[in-house]
Symmetry: C2
Subunit: 271 residues, 2 copies
C-alpha cells in the first residue's frame, strides 16, 4: 500500500496562484492537491479545472465553509456545489469564534453545533462530505469554538453519516487523549484527512508560525502511526501557515516538503 503527498495551497499561496501551484505540484509528480475557494475565484473556475485536468490531478480537501456568520454562511450552498464540481474528497468546516462582545463560549458551541447540523443537511443533498478540523485551543475565541478531537468526535457521533474529522498535528499533538480520540475517530471510519507540519520552539505567532516537518518538536512518526493504525490510508496533507515559508520561493518550499515527507513518512508514492 502506498499513499500520496497532497499539498495544501495555503502553504505557498502568497507567491503562487492556483495555476502556478498546480504546475509546481505536477512537476513533482504529485497526484492530489487541497484547494481554496477564494483562490479558485482569483484565476477563474474554468482555468482552475483545466489546469487540474491537464495535470491529471485530483482535489483532496476543499477549503472552506465559514466562519459562521450570516454573510459567510449564505455562501455555503454555492461552496458545496463548487467542491462537488471539483470532485473534492471533503469540505473543511471553519466555525470561527465568538462574535463581537460575546462571552458565552458554551452557548457559542451549541450554536455552532446547530449550524454544523444544518450544513450537513445541505452537504448530504449535494453529495459531499464535511470535515471538522479541531483547531488548537489557542485559536478558541477569535477563530474557532472546536478545539479538541473529543469535541469533534462527539459532534460526529451526534450527527451520523456524511461528516468526519481532519486531524492536524499542529492542533492536536499536545492532547493527552490523542491516542484514544484518534482510535475513536478511526473506529467510526470518520478520519477524512491527516495534516502535517511541525510545532516550533519558540512559536512566535499563534497563527502564522508553523514549522516545516522535522524543524519542530512533534513526534510525527508516532502520530502518523496512530492514524495509520486505524486503517486510514489517505494522503499525507502538508499545510504550513508560516510567514517564513510563505516568503520563500514556492519551488524550494515544495522541494523541501517532498524531501521531508520522504524522510519522515513511510510508503509514500515516490515523487
Amino acid at each position: 500500500m502506498t499513499r500520496d503527498i497532497a499539498i495544501n495551497h495555503a502553504t505557498v499561496r502568497e507567491k503562487a496562484d492556483m495555476l502556478a501551484f498546480i504546475d509546481l505540484c505536477a512537476a513533482r509528480n504529485l497526484r492530489a492537491v487541497s484547494i481554496w475557494g477564494d483562490e479558485i475565484d482569483k484565476v477563474g473556475e474554468a482555468a482552475a479545472q483545466a489546469a487540474l485536468q491537464q495535470a491529471g490531478m485530483t482535489v483532496y480537501g476543499y477549503n472552506r465553509i465559514g466562519p459562521f456568520i450570516a454573510t459567510e454562511l449564505d455562501k455555503a450552498p454555492a461552496q458545496l456545489e463548487q467542491a462537488a464540481r471539483f470532485g473534492a474528497d471533503h469540505v473543511l468546516v471553519f466555525t470561527g469564534g465568538l462574535v463581537d462582545g460575546e462571552h458565552d463560549l458554551k452557548a457559542a458551541r451549541r450554536r455552532h453545533e446547530d449550524i454544523i447540523g444544518g450544513l450537513l443537511d445541505q452537504a448530504r443533498q449535494i453529495g459531499v462530505k464535511l470535515a471538522l478540523e479541531p483547531l488548537h485551543p489557542m485559536l478558541v475565541g477569535d477563530r474557532t469554538t472546536l478545539a479538541s478531537l473529543s469535541h469533534a468526535n462527539a459532534i460526529c457521533d451526534a450527527l451520523g453519516d456524511g461528516i468526519g474529522i481532519v486531524i492536524d498535528v499542529h492542533h492536536v499533538w499536545w492532547d493527552e487523549r490523542l491516542e484514544e480520540e484518534v482510535a475513536r475517530a478511526g473506529k467510526a471510519g470518520r478520519i477524512l484527512g491527516f495534516h502535517v507540519n511541525d510545532w516550533l520552539v519558540p512559536t512566535r505567532h499563534l497563527l502564522r508560525d508553523r514549522g516545516m516537518m522535522g524543524d519542530g518538536i512533534i513526534d510525527l512518526p508516532y502520530i502518523d502511526g496512530l492514524v495509520r493504525a486505524t486503517g486510514f490510508n489517505g494522503p499525507v496533507e502538508v499545510e504550513i501557515f508560516s510567514d517564513d515559508w510563505a516568503a520563500r520561493d514556492p519551488a524550494f518550499v515544495l522541494d523541501t516538503v517532498v524531501q521531508r515527507c520522504t524522510q519522515i513518512f513511510p510508503d509514500l508514492v515516490t515523487p
Copy 2:
C-alpha cells in the same frame, strides 16, 4: 462569606521588588500575596519576612518548583522548606517541557508524573501542599507537559493527599470539559487556587500577553461560579503575565486590579 484578593507578584515584578510589592498591597488593605523564591532572594529572606509581618500579610502561593531538570530539582527541598517558613498555603509545581532533542511527549509525561510523585514525598515530610497548575496547550513542549485539568485530576487521583490543583482561567477557559473537571477537582477537595486574568483578542504572544480582567473574552463570572459551586472559598488570585502591564506604574496596575475584581467577582473583602 467573604474572600480576599491575592495578587501574584509576577504581575508587577518588573517594576516593584518584593518589599515594594508588599507595601503596595498593604496600602490597598490586601491581606494575602503570592510570592516567588527568586524575588525573595533579591531582597533577602529576613527583609521579606519582616515586611510581611509588619503588613500583617499572609502568603498564599509560593512559586515555584521546577522546571524538571536536575539542577532545578536539586533545589526543591530548600524551596519547600522556604515555602514552609513563609507559611505558604501551597507550592506551585512547574514541570517545564521536553528536553533538547526530545520528541516523545508521552514518555516525558510519564517521567514528569514520576518526578511529581517524588516531590510529593518531600512535600509531605516538610508539611506543605503541592499545587499542579495545568498550563495552556500552547505551552506544551517548551514550558509544560501538563495542559489540562483532566490530566491534573488524573495525577492527583493517583497520588492521594497533599497535592491539588490551581485553576488559571487563561489556561483552561477553552476546555469543553471545564465544568466536569472543575467539579471533579472540587469534589475531591483539591482546588488550591483560582487565578484570574483575561484572554485578549488578538493574543500577540504565547507567554506575555495576558489581559487585565474585563479586557478580554473570558466569561469570568461563569468560571468563578463553577469554582465557587464546589465550595472553594479561597482568594481570587490575580496573575497577569503581560509586557503591557509590566511596563506600567505598579500602583496603577494594582488599583486597576482591585477595581476590576470588585466589579467582576462577588463577595470580596472590600479593600
